[in-house]
Symmetry: C2
Subunit: 338 residues, 2 copies
Amino acid sequence: MKRLTLKDVARMAGVAPSTVSFVLNGKAKQMRIRDEVAQKIMSVVNQSGYEPHRVAVNLRTGQSKTLGLIVESISGSFFASLARTIETEAERLGYNVVYCSTENNAEKGGELIRMLGRQMVDGYLITPAPGMENEIRRLLQMHKPVVLMDSYFPGIKAPYVLIDNFHGVQLGMDHLFERGYRKIGYVTVDVSLIQLAERQRSYTQALKKKDIPFRKKRVLELNYHDSREQNLATLEAFIQENRDMDAIFFATNYLGILGLEAMGRLKISMPKQMAAICFDDHDIFRLYPPGITVIEQPIEGIAAKAISLLMKQLDKQSGPIKESQVALPGRLIVRSST
Amino acid sequence: MKRLTLKDVARMAGVAPSTVSFVLNGKAKQMRIRDEVAQKIMSVVNQSGYEPHRVAVNLRTGQSKTLGLIVESISGSFFASLARTIETEAERLGYNVVYCSTENNAEKGGELIRMLGRQMVDGYLITPAPGMENEIRRLLQMHKPVVLMDSYFPGIKAPYVLIDNFHGVQLGMDHLFERGYRKIGYVTVDVSLIQLAERQRSYTQALKKKDIPFRKKRVLELNYHDSREQNLATLEAFIQENRDMDAIFFATNYLGILGLEAMGRLKISMPKQMAAICFDDHDIFRLYPPGITVIEQPIEGIAAKAISLLMKQLDKQSGPIKESQVALPGRLIVRSST
DNA sequence: AATACTTACAAAATCGATTTAGCACAGGTG
DNA sequence: CACCTGTGCTAAATCGATTTTGTAAGTATT
């Protein structure tokens, strides 16, 4: 009834525990174990169905074979796609994944990282939230393998993987221009994340390139800490005051959804009265009539690349912390809102 | 630079490791450690910031302080709400949670459970999928703490927590009747889960109670294994053939979303031409004009109850496997689709 | 005064693996 | 024949905690 241990297997095979361990870890040759003995051991292992006690292995080797995935919100659709790819990739490589969400709370972010540290994860995949800078610096100092996703901190040279935000917005703007829209509004939020800055930079840049004057009035920056209702009201007011706009660019899917609701309330028909485009796709954008044009993030690509960067760090832990920064291109999905 | 161990703390405090352990585990009294010594130890611990090595504790005590949460799909909104509550509850109780999704794959479900077993989780929270019966039976045989959520297997007496499906549908049906709808269709899917059976039973029961004849033609059972497109087509055909219906009851939110799309394509205005109501809420139902009436699951309640049932099992592991089956009431959220 | 019993800790075993060091034997060398 | 070198394995240390057993000193008992 009790769990089978290495010792049991050794006894059953008539050898020492260490010998079994060598064979199981592929060091039979190196330790010059006779093929005969090795085969005997393997047959006993297979017949008995022995499996090493992960915890014991972990304690001894210091490797938990576990990765920590820290995301902003576990309910977000970004996370959902991310998690799937990361988990299957990780499993393929013999790693487990534990997920944690910061729930947009820097305090909690730090605590989570520490918690994962206690849990002894071998590496971290993090979508950084404002306020996590120090924790991430600490991880780097401790030479813990880390890969950031979706965002990064300019001052910190950690490997990261994200969508090419500038290029993505450009795609969207070009599309709008092509469709004849010129009076394009932009809705963002006051979170100090690099990707938002980048997106806005691309927006103004795109206008400039088209010789369309930038109008401050056309840009709305919502307050992250305001309530949903509050923001909705602000957004409605913004749209009302800019009735002459022919299109709105939403910087995140959260904002886009808010926009949908606002335009619904104002009974603005899309795209007739006003077009809408959003950075980052969402189920709703596909379903909501008439379907919202979006810039889709290459989430699978990001996940896969992130894992591979992390593995590179895990493999040669003594090797130099390769400074790998990757930006993958997004994809424009044209629906009927533009 | 290295990690602080119990031994280090002991040396720093001038006592034996065992003494430190006793103090840290609240056995100071029991082991008659002088307050003086205990305080000294505590101060050293606090100043040094020592934290026990989880893996070592795990190995020695056999308790991983980790729970396994197995859900159908990690991207589902049901999971999202569930995970949040469970994680915070678990953390409060000193437990970690590892998530796994079966991705609607019985094979994978079994493997997952085994994987978690290797990982040595202390208990399981599972939303069962067809085909996991045997794995769950095995867990029970091994006296592993298990709580099922959202569904259960009639033959297996494991504790479970779910919404009162019968009552939920009744709420919805009563609401439809109240609004004057009589020709009510029902859309379900051919997955052999008890909650679906229960919902359908409630639907027919409700009709009978109102003396409305049950018409087989009004019930559509989609094929789970068909593609989304395929199902959409089937659903559209079903609606076309039942143009005289005045309302449709969707048995799951997946079906409801499909319904939205189908009705959108057929340009059926809701609720004018046809009303819609769905079991289980979803973001889209709130946003999609005109807003879909739903029966909301008490997800937080389910999560909280499930955790508490699991903890009860974890506390007194020798105690009898209390056969606890809980059904929590759902809530009707009236929106404009009815 | 000898024995028993507390008190207050320390020492050592233990969890289940990995890994280093060691040991017995065979064969080759000077 | 003493000495060295491979072979092929075993013994023992180790990871960092918890828990059982031991033990010296002080107090109480007879």
